[in-house]
């Protein structure tokens, strides 16, 4: 990887160009249904368990922090409301993003990178098959779908974990916790979170595919590509998250 400014610009440019290619190849027939299902299953199978295992302590940490904060402020009745809000709006898209990039993206990047250095990608192009259409599009769609579903999973597990820690371990009142659920959070929060997850899924799959398809220099090159793809994806995801959150607050009126 070159460290010159033009090199960085060129890489950003080609990454963006590939994202456009993916969008252009999206409606092209025949749709690779088989590859899509295989990839969706694959990405789901590598992410579901870690996601569930990460979101339980994540929900618990939020519950602990908010439980103690609300007690300090004397607003215990809002413990449930605040914890749902935190899990739904930020925690679940971020956890989803980390896992979809860390578990799904790395697998995609390593797979495509290995195919690239074994000349499989070249062979495919020579056989008259566009790897963007055949390989990348199904992966991007699979990653988006799985991200949306994972986001739902994280929300549920996170809220349940929060309830468990607040009510059982911190002796909160179950009724008050449940009753305050909807005082701050609203349905549009969920939609916004799902939209974030959708975008995160797309970004992580596109970056992983780009890095995988441009891997070079043998097995070490694939390792480097995976490494870079995770770093780049994380940076992009956190920036995107910030922008989307800022836009969300401008567009959707808040309660209270």
């Amino acid at each position: 990887m070159s460290l010159s400014p033009t090199g960085a610009l060129r890489h950003s440019g080609s990454l963006f160009a590939m994202a456009l290619d993916v969008v252009r190849a999206l409606p092209r027939r025949p749709f690779q249904a088989r590859e899509f299902i295989q990839q969706a299953w694959f990405v789901a199978s590598v992410t579901i368990l870690p996601t569930a295992l990460v979101s339980i302590p994540f929900g618990a940490v939020i519950a602990l922090q908010i439980g103690s904060l609300t007690r300090q402020l004397g607003a215990q009745s809002f413990a449930g409301a605040a914890s749902v809000l935190a899990v739904l709006r930020e925690a679940s898209p971020i956890v989803t993003a980390l896992l979809i990039a860390g578990a799904g993206g790395t697998a995609i990047c390593a797979d495509l990178g290995a195919r690239r250095i074994r000349d499989e990608i070249d062979a495919m192009q020579v056989l008259g098959i566009d790897p963007i259409h055949r390989l990348v599009v199904p992966r991007v769609l699979a990653s988006m779908v799985v991200a949306v579903l994972l986001n739902g999973l994280v929300s549920v597990v996170g809220v349940a974990g929060g309830y468990f820690f607040n009510v059982i371990l911190q002796n909160g009142t179950p009724g008050a916790y449940l009753a305050s659920f909807t005082t701050l959070a609203q349905l549009s929060d969920l939609w916004a979170a799902e939209l974030k997850a959708l975008v995160f899924g797309a970004i992580s799959a596109i970056v992983a595919s780009y890095k995988g398809l441009t891997a070079k220099g043998g097995p070490k090159g694939v390792g480097d590509a995976v490494n870079q793809s995770v770093v780049i994806t994380f940076m992009l995801l956190f920036v995107t998250n910030f922008v989307m959150t800022a836009v969300y607050f401008q567009v959707v009126p808040q309660r209270g």
Binding site: A114, R118, D119, D122, A123, Q125, V126, L127, G128, I129
Partner: protein, 318 residues
Amino acid sequence: MGVEICVEGLTKSFGHQVIWQDVSLTLPAGEVSVMLGPSGTGKSVFLKTLVGLLRPDRGSVTVAGRDITRLREHELYEVRKLFGVLFQDGALFGSMNLYDNIAFPLREHTRKPEGEIRRIVLEKMDMVGLIGAEGKLPGEISGGMRKRAGLARALVLDPEIILFDEPDSGLDPVRVAYLNQLIVDLNAQIDATFLIVTHDIASARQVPDNIGLLFRRELVMFGPREQLLTSEEPVVRQFLNGRMQGPIGMAEEKDAAQVEQELAQLGEHHGSGEHTGTPGSQDLPPRLLPGPGITRPPRWQAIARREAEPRRREVTGA
């Protein structure tokens, strides 16, 4: 009948490093050509440029009336259906077994029923002698089998042009001989235009109609096999005889003074009449002909007649 490939003024560089420049040649339709060159002279790059995987800096590659270097991406995918390419390690899809690998282009490009796909795949597998290995994964078979499977996959769409990227690398001499025979047999059977990129001299001497030599960032010579094999050009002679003396060094980049010295050395060796003892390039090695089971098209019948003739003359002359 195969398709002619016309290359004109082709130049390729990566950054400031020129790979080769101003390469012009015509691969005649239906004939077997070999592109030779020391390691690292960009033979594979040349091959990838021919199929449009890499874009050259200048020049044109004309196939079936269309310039590969100027085509848009989707037109390129259409033209590439004329090509079959055998990559160095076969480039099989690691996740599929051999049968699915070979059936892949058919399933992607045609709407043939599975029964007909099966018939075609088994026919091509039979051609390359892989019957019985349909269910094997590429990781479970030897390098030679992977190459043959890659060849079967390249053949499955009935290409007009077949490109071989070092078909003999990593194979033992016996397998190389079998593969060469297979290439000749295939050429007699399907009549496509063949280009073989290699640095194996033995194959280059026996198999092709035409030989080209890439060296020092340019095409030193391209022409009929006889012309190259009897050439007095130092680079060509050195390479075809596999000697150390001559312009080609261990490292690709040699300075001019060293080349002078090498050439002088070569002259001395010539002066002492040493080269008469080595298997000289003057006597043409016999050409490899299609096997007995193969029906020879007119082109190969003519070659077989020409092959038989001078030998008879030699015998009567002596």
